[in-house]
Symmetry: C2
Subunit: 689 residues, 2 copies
């Protein structure tokens, strides 16, 4: 159901309103009544006849029908045990609720039961419920503070959704100081019904919102999240600060909100696939939101830096290390124009050094030249407050520039008292100032990457299920199961892989080998669901050079694994060894893991995640920006590996993962790829059923 009335209500009832200082119901009532909200407000509390000189009703039901028909939103700040009944009683007339009350799933089993019940009520009656266990929400443009956090932030274009109420309070307080302006602040609490996904859907359509910022500890319903986020991220930037980077945090999250934090690398892969900008920490999150909020345009990758201090310029230049954005190479025309008015000791290379004695005119002229330089997309304007630096005047020039240009401009005014007022002025005029150079570079870099996502802004990919193929695979699985096996034989796996156009190494069961000639050397392997780590357990003999050695190997392996199936394969030619697996993620379903194989694979951590489905273009882009991209770039002394072939293989594995969710575990280890015309080959395939 649409959330329009919840977040833009013409009338609100506050259940649990109180005149008692310090009570949550008191804070909320005052926030709604005293901060300028223009709609109707009804107070409900059986203990009072009147609060703040306003009539107080005994219950929601007691509000006269003529009015009650008009209640768009009820806010509940009453003990948890009364919540469900109160909502059920009014579910015919009132469709939108904010449940502030704590005491639901976050407190354990009993609370969980109550939350389940409330969820049922919500579903059966077509309600919208924010919370429970939340701070409420604030819509500054309506002067509506429907929360128990104090104050009214400035109205602007940032929507902030927080899974932590306390963090929202701290950010609101910091925002006041920073000049950050919001379209809405929403605390989602336990996310019983309205979670990040519903909020994305709503805020994506909200005209007042330019950028959506979220603090999340967990993500609910991964599939739906990916679908909606992917759509909304094409319309406007989404910045998420996702907690849970390490195991301790994941544990803390689950004990604190009961949320499933998820595998952090997969979360990153999902964000990248969906076009979500991930903030690495709170400082970056805040910086990014402010920057996007004030930006003139989505930045490209070319940045100019102007500075009145060489040392500060150097530090900005260092901050570009490892970033995708670059210091723009200035055109000769630009440099010549700069040289015309700058002293000889200035640098007209980027960073452009205006020197310590630069007054406002130098900044002004330099900015003017930049404004007509097509090789520059954004400007970072540095200033250190030297004795002779007219800080306020320079700020004025920057503000004037910002109003006239379609380029982005941000400032880094380093210092304390001497730059404070100018910074305030800049912010009032929507010029984003960063306290330190690195933050400025990071913010521009992250936002420009959102722009880059645009390159593959194809329609959201859906994967067609090939039912016929699926049936065939299930048949093979059924047969194995009927034989009480937990894994497919290599021959069966090869048959399955062939359906997904993945080439496997030639292979013969030992019984059928006589008379064949693979040519030596060959490999002898145990093929059994009981012997999964074959190499560790001496279930593989490599490099068998002739028939005699083969017979010897067969009898050796038969002694060690008397019951097992044996297969013979040719030694695969040397190439790059890769591994590909499918991981079942609790939140996002099947995820493809791929990377370099070999004995050091786990230490070198050259593994990336892919969340299917992906289009061919997305797959290629992901491969070419991932950890094994170097294989496809053909650097020094190495021929390129064929990226199309790898895309084809990963597309096949994606189809397989989505089509056959019955698979418990899957990996190819190794897949050998070649940089000559030879086809890639899966040497070992493990399909656990």
């Amino acid at each position: 159901m649409s959330l329009d009335k919840l977040f833009n209500p013409k009338s609100i009832a506050i259940v649990g309103a109180s005149s008692e200082e310090g009570k949550i119901g008191n804070v909320i009532a005052k926030n709604i009544l005293e901060l300028g909200y223009g709609g109707e407000v009804y107070l409900v509390n059986p203990k009072y006849a009147e609060i703040f000189g306003k009539k107080c009703y005994k219950s929601l039901g007691e509000i006269p029908t003529s009015s009650a028909g008009m209640i768009d939103l009820a806010i509940l700040a009453i003990p948890a045990k009364f919540v469900n009944q109160e909502i059920l009683n009014n579910s015919k007339n009132i469709k939108n609720y904010v449940v502030i009350s704590a005491g639901f799933s976050e407190i354990g089993e009993e609370g969980k039961k109550q939350e389940e019940e409330l969820k049922k009520i919500t579903k059966e009656n077509g309600l919208n419920i924010l919370g429970p266990n939340c701070l409420g929400f604030i819509i500054p443009s309506l002067k509506l503070n429907a929360s128990f956090a104090g104050g009214m932030p400035e109205a602007g274009n940032i929507a902030f959704v927080s899974q932590s109420g306390a963090l929202a309070v701290a950010i609101m307080d910091a925002a006041k100081k920073e000049g950050t302006k919001f379209s809405s602040i929403v605390s989602v609490g336990n996310k019983m019904q309205i979670s990040e996904t519903e909020m994305l859907e709503f805020l994506g359509q909200d005209e007042n919102t330019k950028v959506i910022g979220m603090y999340l500890e967990g993500i609910k319903e991964g599939g739906k999240f990916i679908e909606i986020a992917g759509k909304i991220a094409k319309i406007k930037p989404i910045v998420i600060l996702k907690a849970g980077k390490n195991e301790k945090t994941q544990k803390a999250i689950s004990s604190h909100t009961g949320a499933l934090a998820g595998n952090d690398e997969i979360v990153s892969a999902v964000f990248e696939k969906s076009g979500i900008i991930r903030a690495n920490n709170l400082e970056e999150f805040f910086a990014l939101l402010n920057f996007i909020s004030f930006s003139n345009t989505v930045p490209n990758q070319k940045v100019a830096v102007i500075t009145n201090a060489g040392g500060a310029g150097v530090l900005v230049s260092d901050a570009f290390s490892g970033k995708k954005i670059k210091l723009a190479d200035l055109e000769n025309e630009t440099k010549n124009k700069l040289r015309e008015f700058l002293p000889a000791e200035s640098s007209v290379e980027n960073p452009i050094d205006l020197l310590g004695d630069a007054r406002a005119d130098r900044y002004k002229k330099a900015l003017k030249i930049i404004s007509s330089a097509p090789e520059i997309g954004s400007v970072i304007c540095l200033l250190t407050p030297q004795e002779q630096t007219p800080v306020a005047e320079i700020a004025k020039e920057i503000i004037k520039f910002k109003d006239k240009t379609d380029k982005n401009i941000v400032t880094v005014f380093l210092g304390g008292e001497k730059v404070e007022k100018a910074i305030t002025k800049l912010k009032q005029n929507e010029v984003c100032n960063f306290s330190f150079p690195d933050l400025a570079v990071t913010a521009i870099d992250s936002y420009s990457q959102w722009n880059e996502f645009g390159v593959v802004k194809t329609k959201t990919q859906t994967q067609l299920i090939n039912e016929k193929r699926r049936a065939k695979v299930l048949e093979i699985i059924a047969k194995a199961k009927s034989e009480n096996r937990q894994a497919l034989y290599f021959g069966e796996s090869a048959e399955v892989m062939a359906m997904y156009e993945i080439n496997t190494v030639e292979s013969f069961e030992i019984e059928n080998y006589h008379g064949r000639n693979l040519g030596y050397p060959v490999v002898l392997k145990v093929d059994s669901d009981k012997v999964l780590h074959k190499t560790d357990k001496n279930g593989v003999i490599l490099n068998i050079e002739n028939e005699m050695n083969l017979s010897r190997a067969v009898s050796q392996i038969k002694t060690n694994f008397p019951e097992s199936h044996l297969i013979i394969q040719p030694m695969a030619k040397k190439g790059a060894e890769l591994i590909i697996g499918i991981k079942k993620d609790e939140i996002f379903g099947p995820v493809i893991v791929y990377g370099l194989g070999g004995i050091y694979a786990e230490f070198l951590k050259t593994v990336d995640y892919l969340v299917p489905p992906l289009s061919l273009a997305q797959m290629e882009k992901t491969l070419l920006s991932g950890k094994i991209k170097f294989l496809f770039q053909g650097a020094r002394g190495q021929k390129k590996y064929n990226v199309e072939e790898m895309v084809k293989i990963l597309m096949g594995i994606s189809s397989f993962a989505l089509e056959i969710p019955e698979i418990r575990e899957f990996d190819i280890n190794p897949l050998i790829v070649y940089n000559n015309s030879q086809e890639a080959v899966a040497v070992d395939v493990k399909i656990m059923i």
Copy 2:
């Protein structure tokens, strides 16, 4: 010569003092005369008879001898062209100078010549000269501002040395706001004579300095720097913000100060070897200095976090990812004590969640318990300003705790106006507050690593040169040179390696091979200084299986390389392939590069740098914390490689590098190491002469 009189002068002459507003000589004179400096001050300027009602001398020489004998320091703010003569004229009587004047090596050839001349004067007359082209210096405890930056920072224990005057100005201004206190601020300008090394030597002995912070663009005299820094870092922490992380920056640095920025990875290796804490950016630099300045003790690796917001606690916990410090595992005793007074919904796991309604007493009690918990070394105290949070009272409790404890405590008070006053109070009481969680964790982590350096605080390593061995090697080199070769033959290299106890693969010149039997397979190689990338040029035939194939291979290679020396080697058994090389660094001399070999080596970037000499203990520590440490840890399914063997090899290479600086290039590629009892073997050794 001792810098005591320069930085603690009883009398100062200001040459170029001026009454004209805006002139540098005016600012300096006012700074020295008006900010409380207690020594004698003489003003010098031929243009004036009197400045600020004080007598003005025509020249330094004119100051009456009775007084002139007492001039400890002369500050020169006169045009560059007069500087050398002025100093030369007075070099008998005045030994310490600050040359503010610009126009020396930073402006090009002419300036360089003048600086060279000044350097000569300095040396010949035993002078100390700070600058030229510098801002001057400030010693707050003496109320001495001998610079043209305004104001007087608070006196404290941070010494700040800056290669950028402008940055020093900005940091001073920011410091005022942050409550940062300094023992000294020194701008080293062109570092003609007094560079980072001389400053380290001086500040290391300065009783008022607890921590030395430096902003550097280049490092002069690498060897001496390593020696002195290594000594001083054992006494007190040195934090350096070293610019030049990427090529663009390195270029900007050299055009801006003429300094050689150096290879950034080698700079990091030098810092690590010397026990210097490297700040990654300006924000971290500032945070670290503040933290160390206020810290009660050097932190160990165990940290507790207390918070009144679960979400904020989670973000701190995330900040520990990739750090060496850890969230302490709380003892049951500690947890039980916490449980006694905390509400049931609190978390007594670390981060300890005191809940949103926590008042000062909860913070107080939790801190008390922490103070007697031996498993905790440092505390990060988080606060978000909820409606019911008594921010000021909690700050008071933290201040009380800090005074009583020997543990470190830092705060992260998140928010704006609501926490501002409390933060000021905290800082006034020397509790370090960080605006964001990540900075707090980074600061504690970096400082605790300095503590860890202590583990290998053996005496500074010096490498003995084995003159006899050196002579033998030089003889081999001389022979090769006499034959007009630029590289040694493999046999010669093997002989050299043997002197450094490095095992090379058995090898025979083709002429001497008849009658030998290495056993097949063997390798045939061209051994020539003309064919350096043998594999690329088909100068190697691997895996030769029998005599017939060998003859065929020989004739094939002879056709391609008719003039070349050929050698035969057995195929080395499979093991881990490493590479080891020597790189000649412009600043630090010979540096050892080592890491994983193989075809992907350059992409996987598993290479580390070592700056010899290192002690055995340091070498082992470096290996075990470097990128190939996993080889020596023996993780899943892999036997450990022998770290002592690798230490021995690297020690050998270090000796070789230091003993034979004549070598132009050196590498072993591959060195094959084994995780069974087999000895490591260098399969190819390239010694370019």
